[in-house]
């Protein structure tokens, strides 16, 4: 197999196209901030972005004007504070009007699951009665359908398969071919990232395939579904990656204050996105002392044994 390693710049240029339906992976952790900043730097336009439970990733893409449509369940600064760019957009149409399709975490995860398996739909008992079910946006009547179950006649809610042109997420480690391993709180990520035609894996660390094969139970997507692999340590900052770094609460607090006004938001982008060439410059700007403070104490388990016998039983073979 050919190596799929490339720079973030090249991966975004080659695989994210204006107007694409983009899945942003990560559930709190694993949010691909490095990739998001590159999308903003390359001034991608007209994207539909689907992100199950986001923090300020969607906020930045909305404020930067990269999006026309959003599919989500939740977008907020986890402090908890408002996502200011999202508010400006929904309340005042700044920088331009977007359409927002909202689900709950379970219903959206089931939609990703249906997309990943290419199921025609999934039936569930959640969502009915809520105004989320009554206010479809751009998906219109294809957002969901409430029908009587053909099995017992009770009301059920059908959610459609959601598929994406491109999916992007940060993971702990991957090999050159895109076999990607991630652990910790996974939320919707495994189903979302498997519902995409093209996939960019951003890894904290590139490892030899032998490392993957010693613990294959941790792989969330096989390499053959992956288009590009980018080595991007600290790629989820200010969010966290289990075992690599913790949440940078101070940065979320800084972002809250910095982006409260429109001018402030634009200055934030100028300084932290347009003003740096790539992730390594951003990381330098954060500073070693601040990064060191986010390094977790180890919490490692016993290695898992995948052993088996080298031969079948002698009298079974003969």
């Amino acid at each position: 197999m050919k190596s799929k390693i490339m720079t973030m710049d090249k991966a975004i240029k080659e695989f994210v196209r204006d107007g694409d339906v983009v899945y942003l992976g990560g559930f709190i952790q694993h949010e691909p901030y490095a990739a998001i900043h590159e999308i903003i730097r390359q001034r991608k336009k007209g994207l539909t972005v689907s992100s199950c439970a986001g923090m300020i990733a969607l906020d930045q893409l909305i404020g930067a004007g990269c999006l026309d449509r959003v599919i989500t369940t939740y977008t907020w600064n986890p402090l908890p504070k408002p996502a200011h760019a999202l508010r400006r957009c929904m309340e005042k149409g700044i920088p331009h009007e977007i359409q927002m399709e909202e689900y709950s975490i379970l219903s959206l995860t089931l939609s990703y699951f249906a997309g990943a398996l290419d199921l025609p739909f999934v039936a569930t008992k959640t969502l009915m009665g809520s105004d989320l079910a009554k206010n479809p946006s751009f998906l219109g009547e294809n957002k969901l359908k409430i029908i009587e179950s053909p099995f017992n006649g009770e009301k059920v809610c059908l959610v459609p398969p959601l598929k994406h042109d491109i999916g992007i997420m940060q993971v702990q480690r991957a090999d050159n071919f895109g076999n990607a391993q991630a652990w910790g709180v996974m939320g919707d990520s495994k189903y979302g990232i498997n519902s995409c035609s093209r996939v960019i894996i951003c890894a904290e660390e590139i490892v030899d395939t032998e490392v993957i094969k010693r613990d294959p139970g941790r792989t969330i997507i096989p390499g053959f579904k992956v288009s590009a692999v980018v080595e991007e340590p600290w790629g989820s900052h200010p969010s966290y990656v289990t075992g690599c770094y913790d949440m940078d609460w101070r940065y979320f607090s800084f972002y809250d204050k910095a982006t409260e006004t429109l001018d402030g938001f634009e200055n934030y982008l100028k300084e932290w996105v347009y003003g740096v060439k790539d992730r390594s410059e951003y990381i330098k700007k954060i500073g070693k002392k601040n990064l060191d403070a986010l390094k977790p104490k180890p919490w490692s388990g016993n290695p898992v044994d995948y052993g088996y016998c080298a031969q079948y039983q002698e009298d079974y073979v003969s």
């Binding site: 908890p80 995860t109 969502l127 977790p296």
Partner: protein, 269 residues
């Protein structure tokens, strides 16, 4: 056992919430006040409860630092199951295991419907909030939903602007008619003023209990409709000195929830 004379309304709310929990129960827990409330219960009278979070965590012990939200890495690294949302919202909540679902809320109405989406018109809101997350799933599926929030009059409209999380909708049997399972729905709303429950017939919220510092008149003023008061309305026991000590010194020693306002929810326009 000595009752405390030095406690805040937030501390009373947390302790009142914890008293709803019985040892051994399975809980699914939302962010903010529910986190500290359930960990406090586990530390005190209910050590054997199981706490589940929407991202895929099942927790049976108390982390060594207080989680600030349900995606906090400190709950993942102490859990007994760590996987994804189809585990906890799916094979636990949708499958009907939790005894109680705990939620925060921006606004709650007469029938226990919760709004965490927006104030004003949905298509052009006056104030846009974060959205559902897993809240709509909790409210749709759980046997008994308990909502916790700071009590301010503007948080209790007769009808919420947007039903993010279904309660009893329009009352009576409208919840079941919408397709939600019988035997699910709001059990209580617990605030800094009291404990509010729901009538079995009309499904309307009523005043069940108020706190020692308060009065029925003050509680009634906290609602934008004329809320009914139970005929045998109760006054809650204040927290004990020991409960307050455990809450402050052992559960939240840095005052992340109790002092620094790290959990305060958005309420005003």
């Amino acid at each position: 056992m000595k009752y405390s004379t030095d406690y805040s309304p937030i501390e009373m709310m947390i302790i009142a919430g914890a008293r709803e929990i019985e040892n051994g129960q399975i809980l699914i827990v939302g962010t903010q006040w529910p986190i500290i409330t359930t960990l406090f219960a586990k530390k005190t009278h209910a050590p054997d409860i199981t706490i589940c979070y929407e991202g895929g965590v099942v927790l049976e012990s108390i982390p060594d630092r207080i989680p600030l939200f349900t995606g906090d890495p400190c709950i993942a690294s102490n859990s007994v199951l760590l996987n994804d949302s189809l585990d906890t919202l799916g094979m636990i909540l949708h499958a009907g295991y939790p005894d109680i679902a705990f939620l925060p809320g921006a606004n709650v109405d007469r029938y226990g419907n919760i709004n965490t989406t927006c104030f004003g018109d949905y298509s052009r809101p006056k104030f846009r909030l974060g959205g559902s997350g897993g809240a709509c799933d909790f409210g749709s599926l759980a046997k008994r939903v308990i909502t916790m929030l700071e009590h301010e009059r503007q948080r209790f409209p007769e009808r919420v602007d947007f039903i993010t999380t279904p309660g009893y909708l329009d009352g009576s049997d409208s919840r079941e008619k919408a397709g939600l399972r019988p035997g699910t729905g709001p059990g209580a709303v617990i605030t800094t003023l009291g404990i509010f429950r729901f009538r079995k017939d009309t499904r309307e919220m009523y005043v069940d209990t108020y706190y020692p510092e308060g009065s029925i008149e003050e509680v009634k003023k906290g609602f934008q409709w004329d809320i009914k008061v139970s005929e045998d309305v109760k006054v809650a026991d204040p927290p004990t000195e020991e409960e307050i000590r455990i809450l402050r010194d052992e559960i939240d020693p840095f005052g992340m929830y109790l002092k620094n306002n790290k959990a305060k929810t958005i309420s005003t326009l």
